[in-house]
C-alpha cells in the first residue's frame, strides 16, 4: 500500500467514571490510504464515534483519557496543542455528524455557517467567501443556491440540511472526511442519493473517507475496507469484498447473520444472544467470548491476538474459520 494519509496506532480511550475507569476503545490501530474509504462498523457503544472524535481532540478531557498515536502529515494529532489542532479541524480533517436537524445552528443563516470554515481556513473574506459558499451549495446539489444561502436551517428539509453539513465538511477540501453516521437519520432514498454524492465528491477532491456506521448495507455500497469494532476492539479488518466473502471472525459472522436477506421470508433473524460487555467490567479473555457460539475454555482465559492469517485480513480470534465452521 502507498503511504497512508492517517495512521492510527494503539488508540486507547478510557473514561474516568465514579465506578472506575471504563475503557471504551482498546488498542485500535488502522491505516487510511489516500482516496480510500474505510468503514468502521459496530453496534452502538462499540466505540466507533468516540474513536473518531478523539482523532480531532473533540472529546472532553477529562473525563476521557486518550492514549496512543494518530500520525497525520508526520505529526501526532493527539499531541497537538489547541491552536495547532484547530488548524487541522475543518481544514485538513473534517467531520459530518449524524443528525442534520441539530448539527446546524438554528439562529444563524446557512450562509453564515458555511462561510465560517472558509473564513477560518482559506483566508477568504466577504464577497469571495460568499461566492465560495454558493459554489459549495451548488456542488452538493442544492437548487438555486444563491437564493437559498440566506435561509435559516428550519427552512430546509432533513436531506437538504445534511447536504449543507456536507458542504461545510468539504468547504476547505480536506484530506480526510469523517462521516459519523452521516446518513443514518435520513430516509433510504435520500440516503442513497447522499452517498452517491459523497462518493462523487470524494473522487473529485481526492479525499480519504472514514465512514462510521452500524448499517452494513451502506458499508457494502461505499467502503473499500472495513474495520469491525466490538467493545472498543478491532475484531476483524479486511477489504470490503473479502470481508463479505470470507468473514473470519465469529462476531462478524453473527453481525452479518443478523441482517435480513431479501426474499428469504418466514425465518427469524439470527440475533446474537446477550449484550455487549460492560466497559467497567470487561471479560478477561476475548471480549466476545460471553456471546460467542464457539467459545471454549481458552477464549475465556486468554485474550486472542489480532492475527493476520491472510495478508490484508486481520481477525481477533484464537481460531481460523476452517477450525470453526464446516
Amino acid at each position: 500500500m502507498t503511504q497512508p494519509v492517517l495512521s492510527v496506532r494503539d488508540l486507547t480511550i478510557t473514561f474516568r467514571t465514579r465506578e472506575g475507569p471504563a475503557k471504551v476503545v482498546d488498542r485500535m490501530s488502522y491505516d487510511l490510504g489516500p482516496g480510500e474509504t474505510l468503514a468502521i462498523v459496530g453496534e452502538s457503544g462499540s466505540g466507533k464515534s468516540v474513536s473518531s472524535l478523539a482523532l480531532m481532540q473533540l472529546l472532553p478531557t477529562p473525563p476521557a483519557v486518550v492514549e496512543g498515536e494518530a500520525i497525520f502529515e508526520g505529526r501526532n494529532l493527539l499531541a497537538l496543542d489547541d491552536p495547532e489542532i484547530r488548524k487541522v479541524r475543518g481544514n485538513k480533517i473534517a467531520m459530518i455528524f449524524q443528525d442534520p436537524m441539530t448539527s446546524l445552528n438554528p439562529v444563524r443563516t446557512i450562509g453564515h455557517q458555511l462561510i465560517e470554515p472558509i473564513e477560518l481556513h482559506l483566508g477568504l473574506k466577504g464577497r469571495a467567501a460568499r461566492k465560495r459558499a454558493i459554489e459549495l451549495l451548488d456542488l452538493v446539489g442544492i437548487p438555486s443556491a444563491a437564493d437559498r444561502i440566506d435561509d435559516y436551517p428550519h427552512q430546509f428539509s432533513g436531506g437538504m440540511r445534511q447536504r449543507v453539513v456536507i458542504a461545510m465538511g468539504i468547504s476547505c477540501e480536506p484530506d480526510v472526511l469523517i462521516a459519523d453516521e452521516a446518513t443514518t437519520a435520513l430516509d433510504v432514498t435520500t440516503q442513497a442519493k447522499i452517498i452517491d454524492e459523497i462518493k462523487d465528491l470524494q473522487e473529485r477532491l481526492g479525499m480519504s473517507l472514514i465512514w462510521i456506521t452500524h448499517d452494513l448495507g451502506v458499508v457494502a455500497g461505499i467502503a473499500d475496507r472495513v474495520v469491525v469494532l466490538y467493545s472498543g476492539q478491532i475484531m476483524e479488518e479486511a477489504g470490503v469484498d473479502e470481508l463479505f466473502r470470507d468473514r473470519r471472525n465469529p462476531y462478524t459472522r453473527g453481525l452479518l447473520a443478523s441482517l435480513p436477506v431479501p426474499g428469504r421470508t418466514g425465518r427469524r433473524l439470527d440475533a446474537i444472544p446477550g449484550l455487549p460487555p460492560d466497559p467497567l467490567r470487561p471479560p478477561r479473555g476475548c471480549p466476545f467470548s460471553p456471546r460467542c457460539p464457539h467459545a471454549v475454555d481458552l477464549c475465556v482465559r486468554q485474550e486472542p491476538a489480532l492475527r493476520e492469517p491472510v495478508p490484508g485480513h486481520r481477525s481477533k480470534c484464537h481460531f481460523d474459520p476452517e477450525d470453526l465452521y464446516e
Binding site: 480531532m56 473533540l58 484547530r86 488548524k87 487541522v88 479541524r89 475543518g90 481544514n91 473534517a94 467531520m95 455528524f97 449524524q98 443528525d99 441539530t102 448539527s103 446546524l104 445552528n105 438554528p106 439562529v107 444563524r108 465560517e116 470554515p117 477560518l120 481556513h121 440566506d150 435561509d151 435559516y152 427552512q155 453539513v165 461545510m168 468547504s171
Partner: protein, 303 residues
C-alpha cells in the same frame, strides 16, 4: 370534498423573514405591548426634550404660590417652596431613565459574560462564579443596594453601580441556564470540528441562541431598576437635593400629603406608568420570542 381541496393546495413557500421581523410583527400584534412601547417612546422623547418642555426650571422658588393645587399655570401644582411639580417630574424622568439604562447596562455587561463563561466552561470556573452570584443573590436587593451605597456614599453614580450589582446575578443565572442546554448541542460540536475557537463559538453560536431570554430580562429589569432608584432616592441615598427624582419627590411629598396630595401623587404616577410600560413591553417581547408561545399567538391572530 373540502379535504380534497385542501390537499391539492400547493404548499406555500416559506417566506424569507428574518427572526427580527417575525418577532417585531408578533409584538406589534399584542396591544398591551404596543401600548407599553408607545409610552416608552413618549417617555424617552419627554426625557430628552425635558428642559425645553418644562415651563419652569426645577429650582424656581416661588414661596407666595407654595402648595398650590393643579391649575393652568402649574399643571401638577406646586410644592412647599412653590416649585412647579410638573417641571420637576419631567426633569426627573431623565435621571430615572438614565439610572435604569446605565444600571441595567452594568448588570448586563457583567452578568452575561459571567453566565457565558460559567455555562460554557463548567467545572470549577462555573462553581466559583455561580457561588459568588448566589451570595449576591441571597441578600435582599434593596438591602444590598443600601449596603453598597453606605460603603460608597450616597450619590447618583453610586446608586447606578449598586443597582447594577444587585441585578448582575439575575443576568448571570439566566445566561448560564441557557448556555448549559447548548454547550453539548451538536452544532456547537460541529463548530468546534471546523476549527472554531472557544471565543468564536461563544460569540457566534452560543450568544445568538441565548439572546432572547436576555432581551426579555433586560426590559423587565429596567422597570425594577427604576423602582429601585425611586426607593433609594426615597431613602435619601440616590439623587441628592436640590436635583429632583421621583422617589425623592415622593418622600418630600409625604409630609404634605394632607394639604398637597399632588406633590406625591404625580411622581408616584410617573413611576407607575414607567414601570407598567416596561413590564407590558417586556411581557409582549417574551411571548414573541418564546416559539411555543408565539405559535399560540399567531394562530390566535389568524382565527
Amino acid at each position: 370534498m373540502t379535504d380534497l381541496v385542501q390537499e391539492s393546495e400547493p404548499i406555500a413557500p416559506v417566506a424569507h423573514r428574518s427572526r427580527f421581523r417575525t418577532t417585531a410583527e408578533t409584538v406589534l400584534r399584542n396591544r398591551l405591548a404596543v401600548a407599553g412601547l408607545a409610552i416608552l417612546a413618549l417617555l424617552v422623547v419627554v426625557a430628552l426634550a425635558a428642559p425645553a418642555i418644562a415651563p419652569y426650571t426645577i429650582n424656581e422658588v416661588d414661596v407666595a404660590n407654595r402648595l398650590q393645587g393643579p391649575s393652568a399655570q402649574h399643571w401638577f401644582g406646586t410644592d412647599e417652596l412653590g416649585r412647579d411639580v410638573f417641571s420637576r417630574v419631567i426633569i426627573a424622568s431623565r435621571v430615572s431613565l438614565q439610572v435604569g439604562f446605565i444600571s441595567v447596562g452594568i448588570a448586563l455587561g457583567v452578568g452575561v459574560p459571567i453566565g457565558l463563561f460559567a455555562g460554557y466552561y463548567g467545572g470549577r470556573i462555573d462553581s466559583v462564579l455561580m457561588r459568588l452570584m448566589d451570595i449576591l443573590f441571597s441578600i435582599p436587593a434593596i438591602v444590598l443596594a443600601i449596603a453598597i451605597l453606605a460603603a460608597l456614599g450616597p450619590d447618583i453614580v453610586n446608586a447606578m453601580i449598586a443597582i447594577g450589582v444587585v441585578y448582575t446575578p439575575i443576568f448571570a443565572r439566566i445566561t448560564r441556564g441557557s448556555v448549559l442546554t447548548l454547550r453539548d448541542a451538536v452544532f456547537v460540536r460541529a463548530a468546534r470540528s471546523i476549527g472554531a475557537s472557544d471565543g468564536r463559538i461563544i460569540g457566534n453560536h452560543i450568544l445568538p441562541n441565548v439572546i432572547a431570554p436576555i432581551i426579555v430580562q433586560t426590559s423587565l429589569s429596567l422597570a425594577f431598576a427604576i423602582l429601585a432608584e425611586a426607593a433609594l432616592s426615597f431613602l435619601g441615598l440616590g439623587v441628592q437635593p436640590p436635583n429632583p427624582a421621583w422617589g425623592r419627590m415622593l418622600s418630600e411629598g409625604r409630609g404634605f400629603f394632607q394639604q398637597a396630595p399632588w406633590m406625591a401623587i404625580f411622581p408616584g404616577l410617573a413611576i407607575f406608568v414607567t414601570v407598567f410600560a416596561f413590564n407590558a413591553f417586556g411581557d409582549g417581547l417574551r411571548d414573541a420570542l418564546d416559539p411555543q408561545q408565539r405559535s399560540v399567538i399567531e394562530s390566535r391572530g389568524k382565527a
